[in-house]
Symmetry: C2
């Protein structure tokens, strides 16, 4: 256990707290709700926690975690260092961290799991990622328990990282994923916001902006699972080209993967997407950390030992747009 | 949506962050984990978020929410006012808010839900509380949608409260509920801590102290579902009598309930428990708010409109022990 204490100066906040966006009401029988009696349950809501620094000097930023994780991704790192939630706040950003719809403090619709006829195939899959799978897929090293020589992920705290895994329903969402509406409501309320997503959450900024660009100042994706470069229409690309875009990828992208395409494939897809955005007159940038001589970054740069160095590069880009 | 901004002076923190306590590793097949492949999943961990004020002047306090809710209980209220998490921090307490094991950011073991033979009866019940049930059971008013004349629950924001409901596994735990071990680890690490639980979480401080009193300075239960006054042995009571104990109950306890015993029954059971503790030489106090002329409090005094007034009474008691 770490108490996360840093040697920083005090953190001075104008406000901190939490609220929800999105959400709709559904009727559930007593057996479905599971406690006392039937009635209305709210589903598809999104939990948002925030800190407002004493004198905001930069735009609001929304941080969206990836699959099988929660907003904890951006808090204290597994080895007890400051995360991006605090670092961005200290650097003048009103900072908002969400739990994706369908997991963690956002909750989910438990009805399908409690129905008398519930069975696999009739109820959503609740996904988690095994520690050994994460080790390889998130590029701590080439095989489970073996680290890259230059890894900067805090592998000594991998068991603490394993505790961050929460069941998620992201494979079960309809095409009109309720996260889009929730993020759009958040952007419109906050005004002029930077949407930053990680991994599976890395495509949310783009999909949200495509549906409604209102309130969105910039889009950032940290290691998204590809960019759908060949799927967007020219009309889609023209829409997205109106908003500045940044991608960040780490190191060891070329490592063969046991589970799906490797990260080089995803990186190259995002480079192809950037080319389309630029051709449409847009502003898009790729930061591949290893190209800058920054070695050993995993799929989780917000938890890597150089996480504040990576954050500073992102802040430089935000300042430049 | 509220941004939770208050007219307070800035919040000045020495540290804030989050970590986990507890947790054990289990092996799960690929189909059980649900993403990519099988391996180890960590289960029974407890998520803990914390704020350390600039100059702590009071002991650390741990806040444990009730059933079908999360640590959000103690953050910004449904109508956007300051919650107890911030208020206690502002009043000099290093303040720790947990998500109970088996829900929200603490995650849960999804294996039983994904097994090929999973079916109701073979998988745990995921409980949530319907909005109409909460209205009556949590004493916003005598029947769903009808408020008590003097209610101080922010009923205009009841739909925001409904968004706080998350599925929980608390009916599925073994007799040696993993929350006990996690809270005990937390108390031992923090040293000299006040454990404060609400509703279903209101018995955790007692059960934790019974198993191991180490690190525990005081026990507080906000509207627990009774106190097991007739179940504890004299030896148990003698153990608990070594730690100062406070109960807080609100108003309208006598309201007939559709779901289980009414709150007067629970209140009276806790009065009987207090009598046993005092007989054993212990220090135990009941604050029944309506006895102090404070009217209209619901089952959720940390969210009622007079929540800071109730918090101040609790702080006075902590100062007195």
């Amino acid at each position: 256990m770490s108490d996360g204490t840093s040697s920083q100066s005090p953190l001075i906040l104008d406000a901190l707290g939490s609220f929800f966006v999105g959400g709709t009401s559904v009727a559930r029988e007593a057996a479905e709700a599971g406690l006392y009696g039937g009635g209305s349950l709210t589903v598809d809501q999104m939990y948002v926690q925030f800190m407002i620094p004493r004198s905001p000097s930069r735009p609001p930023i929304v941080m969206i975690h990836g699959s099988t994780l929660s907003g904890k991704t951006f808090e204290t790192t597994p080895d007890g260092r400051m995360g991006w939630y605090e670092y961005f706040t200290r650097n003048g950003f009103p900072t908002y961290v969400v739990d994706q719809v369908g997991r963690a403090r956002s909750g989910f619709d438990n009805g399908p799991f409690n129905r008398p006829d519930a069975a696999v195939g009739l109820q959503p899959v609740l996904r988690r990622v095994a520690t050994e799978v994460a080790w390889v897929r998130f590029r701590f090293g080439p095989s489970a328990g073996v680290a890259f020589d230059d890894t900067v992920f805090p592998i000594e705290a991998v068991q603490e990282f394993a505790k961050q895994s929460v069941p998620d329903l992201s494979q079960s969402f309809p095409p009109d994923d309720p996260n889009y509406a929730a993020l759009s409501e958040l952007a419109i309320n906050l005004k002029d916001v930077v949407l930053m997503g990680h991994s599976q959450g890395g495509r949310y900024p783009f999909e949200t902006a495509l549906r409604n660009p209102k309130g969105i100042r910039a889009l950032i994706a940290i290691e998204p699972p590809g960019c759908r470069s060949g799927e967007y229409t020219d009309q889609d690309v023209a829409k997205l080209a109106k908003v500045p875009i940044l991608f960040v990828f780490g190191d060891h992208l070329e490592t063969p993967q046991f589970y799906g395409p490797n990260w080089l494939t995803f990186y190259e897809d995002c480079e192809a997407f950037i080319a389309r955005i630029r051709k449409a007159g847009g502003k898009a940038k790729m930061i591949r950390l290893s190209d800058l001589g920054i070695s050993g970054n995993s799929h989780l740069p917000m938890q890597d030992k150089n996480n504040l160095q990576v954050a500073a590069l992102i802040i430089d880009w935000i300042d430049s747009i």
